[in-house]
Each structure stands twice: as structure tokens, then as C-alpha cells.
């Protein structure tokens, strides 16, 4: 780790306070971040993984100066995201996933011109950079079309172009591939990897394991506002090194029938996901062979299909870290 991290969180906490009720107002507090410590080196492509509501976007908002933490500190390029926001804003870029955040009635190039003006980029620099970004992000030829005519992938590439207008040293990407088709998502991942290879520090949030596995130098897993694992993708996989995975498909099985599986010795988690008409059950356990022999007893009367045992992946490690999930 270099002397000064590009991004650093020290005991970062954020609690949202809302009120509910009309006549009897009641204050409700929800902790989104619970004392996060994090250090990211310059030039690193860092992935933050976690389920919805785990605190990923909250962390990005704090680092990008949009949100104040309840306590702790958030530093980017050595600048305090709370107190030195004006100096910091010039040196970072950020992209939120989804289609919002662009002016749909303007053309792609006018969107970029407007945002370049917001960053007070000199006109000659802005002209050159916009042209380069349009070319690099494969938007040339369509730059004069209104954004409302763009595909989702084009909008997301325009988002990225916007985030790169000020040539930021640190780029925050909050679920940038969400909603993209596989080809569009892969193209975006390649671009993001290239940006990191070119020396930019990239902070990427995602809940796609393969995405993190494919492009990130280092990842952290966040659950309920706390970091539960941090390291390279291969070091994260060691969480489930001594474990195996048993998977099988069933149709129309009541979820309560899984309780017996969870009680088996060596079983650490049981996850169920819907796959068309079938349910795919994934069992993390220390002794897969033993679990496989017990399946027929515990799920007596249920037609089991495609029963298999395999080595754990990063996704399995993630499921293990996050706990039993749907």
C-alpha cells in the first residue's frame, strides 16, 4: 500500500433518520454504515460487493461529497470529502447505474458540453476531450441524436463519458452494468479495466460476482453496513476453501422442507433461487458426500433433479459471507 491511499475510510458511519406517522411522529433510525475501515491504493480497481441495501451506494455518495457521514472520515486523494469538497469535486468522477442522470431532450454531445461547462473545463480542452471520449466509448456518429433515442447501453456509455470529462484521478462507479445486456456489460467492463490499467483508481460497486472476479484487483464484501471480507478475489475464495457445494433442482417444494438440511452437521448455508419453474437449492457444507446421501431421507417424497457436487466459486464465497439468502 502506498504512503497515501487514493481512497480511505476511517470508522465511517452513517445513520439515516426518518420520521413516520402523521399525528404521532416517530423517529426511525437506520444504520447504513457501521464503522467501515478501508484503504485503496492509487491505480487500484477495487470492487465493493454486497446485496441491495448493504451500504454500497451510501459509501459512494459519501466519497463523492453528496452525503455527509454521521461520524468517521472519508478521504479521497488525501482530501476530506466533508470539509474539502470543492477541491475534491474537481478531481473525481462518478457514474451511477441506470438510465437517469442524463438530459434526454439534449443530444449526447450537448449533454457532454453542458456537464463540461459545469466542471469549468476550458472550451478547447473540452472540445478535444469530448471528441476523444465519443470515439473511445463508441458513440461517434450518434452524438447529435437526442439521448431519448439511445439504447440503454449507449446511455450507460454516455454516463461513463460524462464521468470522465474532467479526466478524474479517481472514478466511482455505482453498479454501472445494471440492466445492460451481456454484450454491453462486457464492453463496459473492458473499458473500466482499461481505465485502471491507464492509472486511474476505480471504486466499483456491484452485486455481480463474476464481474468483480473478472476485473477487480481487490474486493471487499459489505453486509449490513459492515465489511465482512477484504482481499484479492482468490483470497476471498479461501473463505470456502474447506467446503464443497451440493446443488439440486426441485419443483414446487415448500421452503420449510429445507430446515432439515440446515440442521445437518457441517452445513453452513442453504440458498434457494428460482430458475424458470424449478427451484435451485445450493448447500454449502464441509462434507458434500454425506449431505448427498442424506438428501433422499430429508426430502423424502420430493423429486430431486440434477443433483451435483462441485468446487466453490467466488459467488459461493460471497453467499457464505452474506449468509443464507433467497
Amino acid at each position: 500500500m502506498a504512503a497515501q491511499p487514493a481512497i480511505e475510510a476511517r470508522q465511517l458511519r452513517k445513520t439515516y433518520t426518518t420520521t413516520r406517522g402523521i399525528f404521532r411522529r416517530e423517529r426511525v433510525e437506520r444504520a447504513a454504515l457501521r464503522g467501515v475501515d478501508l484503504k485503496i491504493a492509487p491505480g487500484e480497481l477495487f470492487g465493493l460487493l454486497g446485496p441491495n441495501g448493504a451500504g454500497k451506494t451510501t459509501m459512494v455518495k459519501i466519497f463523492t461529497t453528496l452525503l455527509l457521514p454521521s461520524s468517521g472520515s472519508a478521504l479521497v486523494l488525501g482530501l476530506d470529502a466533508v470539509k474539502e469538497q470543492w477541491a475534491l469535486r474537481k478531481r473525481i468522477g462518478f457514474v451511477f447505474g441506470g438510465e437517469r442522470g442524463l438530459y434526454w431532450r439534449l443530444s449526447g454531445i450537448d449533454n457532454l458540453r453542458y456537464f463540461a461547462d459545469l466542471y469549468r473545463i476550458p472550451p478547447d480542452v473540452s472540445r478535444r476531450r469530448i471528441s476523444e471520449l465519443l470515439e473511445r466509448l463508441d458513440l461517434s456518429g450518434r452524438e447529435r441524436d437526442r439521448v431519448e433515442l439511445y439504447s440503454r447501453g449507449m446511455k450507460q456509455r454516455l454516463h461513463l463519458a460524462r464521468g470522465l470529462l474532467n479526466d478524474p484521478e479517481v472514478l466511482f462507479l455505482d453498479e454501472p452494468t445494471i440492466g445492460l445486456d451481456p454484450v454491453g456489460a462486457r464492453e463496459l467492463r473492458v473499458i473500466v479495466r482499461e481505465l485502471a490499467d491507464a492509472g486511474k483508481t476505480v471504486f466499483l460497486t456491484t452485486h455481480y460476482m463474476f464481474e468483480a472476479d473478472a476485473i477487480c484487483d481487490r474486493i471487499a464484501v459489505i453486509r449490513d453496513g459492515a465489511i465482512v471480507a477484504e482481499g484479492t478475489p482468490s483470497s476471498i475464495k479461501t473463505v470456502v476453501r474447506d467446503q464443497g457445494i451440493v446443488e439440486f433442482e426441485v419443483v414446487g417444494m415448500p421452503v420449510e422442507r429445507l430446515a432439515g438440511l440446515r440442521r445437518l452437521p457441517g452445513v453452513t448455508s442453504v440458498a434457494i433461487s428460482e430458475h424458470e419453474l424449478a427451484q435451485v437449492v445450493t448447500v454449502h457444507c464441509a462434507r458434500p458426500a454425506e449431505v448427498m446421501t442424506q438428501l433422499g431421507v430429508i426430502l423424502d417424497g420430493i423429486n430431486l433433479e440434477k443433483v451435483s457436487s462441485r468446487e466453490p466459486t467466488l459467488e459461493d464465497a460471497y453467499v457464505q459471507l452474506i449468509g443464507d439468502s433467497q
Binding site: 451510501t58 438530459y103 450537448d110
Partner: protein, 266 residues
Amino acid sequence: MKRLALEAAVFGRSTYLQYVALFQWANPQGYVAYKVLLPVTQILFFVELGVYATGPQNALYFALGNALQLTANAGIFGVIATVANERQYGTLPILLASPANRMVTFLSRAIVNVIDGIATVVVGLAIVVVLFGLNLQHANLLLLAICVVVISLTTAGLGLMFGSIGLVMRDAIIIANIVYYLLLIVCGINFPVSRLPGAVQVLSFALPLTRGVQAARDAAAGASLGQVSGLLAGELLVGLSWALAGYLLFRLLENWARRGGLQEAY
């Protein structure tokens, strides 16, 4: 000098782009409907109502007042809608996380709407001339034009004040409606301010339009600049005060939104 010209060019371009991006009646049909049909309807409604209540001799009073009040269409609705639309399009966080100068951003929200407000009043006055035979033969036209510019500036000042609330409130357009109709009631548009209760008169003179509309009525009747300069100075002062209060509120609410992460709620 060259740098200043460059800055002005950038300001002009971003102001124009922002207007096109956020203006909700951007196509020609929508513009005609909003800027011609709506004024005609509003003027007809209040003139008919006024004539029914007070007699035909007052038709021009109602027509002129409502034509001038149309500036609030742009100054109030237009300005408030820019912030409300930023929120709806999800561009507000990008704007607020940028290093853009807040005063420049704040003023650029208003400037095109001021021009639009002037255009709306011109349309309104043309309607009054054609439909109600407003005779401007003895009017001080230059002074009337100055009055129209001044009230367009001052209503936009009030619009900036309430537009700031859009930073933290998702239904700011409701406020635009309330303010618009409040101006119709208390600013001497449809009846003299002197007919209002004393406490409401205090409110009248704390709002833009009241003095400006009176000055415009006087100019239409042939008054000189000297005769209405006090009214115009007061009008400008009121508008400037609202704009300044709006800017301070904008900065205050920007920090408040940072505390609660409210910029994205829509």
C-alpha cells in the same frame, strides 16, 4: 476582456442547454398552447368575471393586470420547474456534486425565464389590444417596456426563492401553483391592493408585481419615468431581496440535502 467574453459565451451556452433540457413545453405546439392559449383563457376568464361583478367600464383594468401577471408563468413556474425537473431526471446529484459556481448556476436558472416572461407579457398585451381594444396611443411605451422587464426580473427572483425548496421537496410544483394564484389575488391584478385587509396589504407590498403592475398601469396611461421611479425602485428591491433570500436558502438546503441524501428522492 477575451476571458470575460469566453466566460459569457460558456454561461450563455450552458444557460441555453439547461433551458432546452429542462423546459417542459419545448416543442412548438406545446409552446403555443402554453404561451398563447393559456394567456387568452386566463385573461378572458378574469375579464368576464370582472365585468360581471363591476361593469364593462373596468374591462381594461382586468385585462391589463392579467396580461402583466402572465410573467409569473415563466418567472414562477419556469424557474421552479427547472429544479423540480432536475430532480425528476436524476441530474440533481450530478449538478450538486460538481464544482460549478453556485451563484452562476443559480442565476442561469432564471435568466432565460426572464426573457420568456417578457415574451409572455408581450403576447398577453397583444391579446388585450386585439380582443379588448386597449388603446396605447397615449401610453409611454418605452416606460411600459421597462416595467415589463422589471416585473419579469422580480417574479423570477421570487421563483428562485421557491425553486430552492425543490432541492429537498419532491412536489415543489405544488408550491408554484400556490404562489402563482397568490400573486393573482394580492398583487393588484384583479382589484386594487387598497381593497385588501391591512395585514394582506403588507404581504402585497412584500411580493413582486404589486408595485411593478401599478407602474405599468401608470405607464399605459402616459405617466413619465419620474412619476413611477419610486414604484420601480421598490419593485426591484423586493425582487432582489427574494432572489438573495433564495440564494441563501439554496445554499442552506444544499447542505441539508447532503445531510440526508435527499437529492435523489423524486
